[in-house]
Symmetry: C2
Subunit: 318 residues, 2 copies
């Protein structure tokens, strides 16, 4: 089969990668569409010690499922973390934090920039008929956006700041807007500003942010500057949600958090079923985030497009 | 001016009611549209000891505002409770529970089924330009729906049951659906079922409700039977939100709540600004809830329509 293979910092589109062999409980998924995520771009910079097939955002259909024939032919999105069920974390129900976990396209398991992908059927979620592939491929990042509302009670009357409105940020902006909260988004790109304005979501400049006034601040810029702005904005007893990994935060930061009784919440993957429900209900726009759909063979070109400032979602079609 | 005047159980449309005189801090609002609420219908049954102008859901425009000229000409919705700022409840910020409160069209203060209405400017909320009168008139009940999310953290992965989908219930169904939660609505009317299906909101029959499995149950039917179903449905440690007043609940109910550690939350008026934000963002459909818009003179006919089973919102135009 064809696949985008990462080796160190280099990748190539290969035509001779073996189809995945299924372990017990696994299904073989024929990938329809896959999304290029900022994490994929960071991998190309060598930030992850991973060799294998890249990619973790996808929609596809099940072609084999040993012993679970009801899955055959179904259109699916898939949770990216494969867990063991036996370690201490799994036994406490924290399967996303499994000590033995593999993650497709990221840790010890081939990903979805390929014709086929293997995943346990317990990782799969059926895509409702009314949700086209081009929307369903956003299930994983939309679930990650919703994880914020799993973790933090966003009340309709709260003032909430979102720092950063890139690929993930524009999904977070939309899910936060659904709460009715007084949402303000710090954004630089004129295009993102325009997309938010069309949805009546207020954008602000750094100068317009009133320090220490936001009940909840979501940091989704992934930059040290974004972190500083977020820290300044949150009010005493407020919550800072860190939605992007970045190497920052000093001891000074941490002690000021104690003084102000600010709660810091790290936020990663989220729940798939609610994401699919929002897509089915037509409550989140993904269409206008798509900046290109390229065939798998042109993955190199897709990565070059995705890395350009202001470019949002690039999809690969198998 | 013209007004719908309630006296005991009888009402009449009068043409000779004096325009309200403004107290300090009050504005005179020319009413454009007003909504008939189930509470108004209960008043006609004599359930409330109120004499005066009926009505509490409205949109209008400010024509006088002593000393606060910036309000003149603005289109507004208005919070219905007028508070004193001095009592113990007000001093704790619980102005909606003011010990001296009056409530338009309900307690000691004339309402909005009239050409004009007086309200303190601090009760007013400007309606965004993009929100037509026919939507803005739903601000008050939509705010009441959102009060649930002010009080209870509805997580995207939660299974939530809504019992009852009438005028208010259909707004609650829509605001709950925005959370992405696994929402199920117990509904009898085929029309409400159809409206919910169009929004991909799942409806269930009483037989389909799995006992003791819902994290949150919202009782919006106002019937003892609805309360019983809700009580059956909520899981141990879950939350029951009571969104309608009804004379029920026995000692047996209360002690079972303790055993199951169920939390009971009474829920009344809610926040206006988030309601207006959802209307501006086009996230709640009010249009299909309107079953008639009648001139004020035909209030009697409007009440007769509103009381019929299955009829949703009837509006009065001034």
């Amino acid at each position: 089969m064809r696949a985008v293979w990462l080796e160190g910092r280099g990748f190539e589109v290969r035509g001779d990668v073996a189809r995945p062999e299924l372990a017990a409980g696994e299904a073989l998924v024929k990938v329809h569409l896959a999304g290029v995520c900022s994490t994929d771009l960071e991998m190309l910079q060598g930030y992850y010690p991973f060799n294998g097939v890249m990619g973790h955002e996808f929609v596809g259909s099940v072609v084999e499922a040993a012993g679970e024939t009801e899955w055959i032919g179904r259109r699916v999105a898939g949770e990216i973390t494969v867990y063991c069920s036996k370690c201490a974390a799994c036994r406490e129900g924290l399967t996303g934090h499994c000590e033995q976990r593999s993650v497709i396209g990221l840790i010890g398991r081939n990903g979805c920039f390929a014709d086929f992908l293997a995943l346990p059927t317990r990782n799969l979620h059926a895509v409702p008929d009314g949700v086209p592939d081009e929307a369903a491929v956003f299930t994983e990042p939309l679930a990650a956006a919703l994880e914020i509302q799993q973790q933090v009670h966003i009340r309709p009357e709260m003032r909430v700041l979102l720092v950063g409105a890139g690929r993930l940020g524009l999904l977070i902006a939309q899910t936060l807007a659904l709460t009715g909260c007084d949402l303000q988004v710090l954004v630089r790109s004129p295009r993102a500003r325009q997309l938010l304005a069309e949805r009546k979501i207020r954008t602000v400049s750094a100068a317009e942010i009133n320090p220490h006034t936001y009940a909840v601040v979501v940091e989704a810029s992934g930059s040290p500057e974004g972190f500083s702005i977020a820290r300044q904005a949150v009010r005493p007893t407020g919550v800072m949600v860190l939605k992007s990994t970045f190497a920052g935060g000093s001891g000074a930061h941490l002690s000021s958090l104690v003084v102000d009784e600010v709660r810091l919440v790290g936020s990663r993957c989220g729940p798939f079923e609610p994401a699919l429900r929002l897509l089915e209900r037509g409550l989140v726009d993904t269409h206008s985030l798509i900046d290109g759909i390229l065939p798998l063979e042109r993955a190199g070109e897709a990565f070059e497009m995705a890395v350009r400032p202001g470019v949002l979602k690039i999809l690969l079609r198998m």
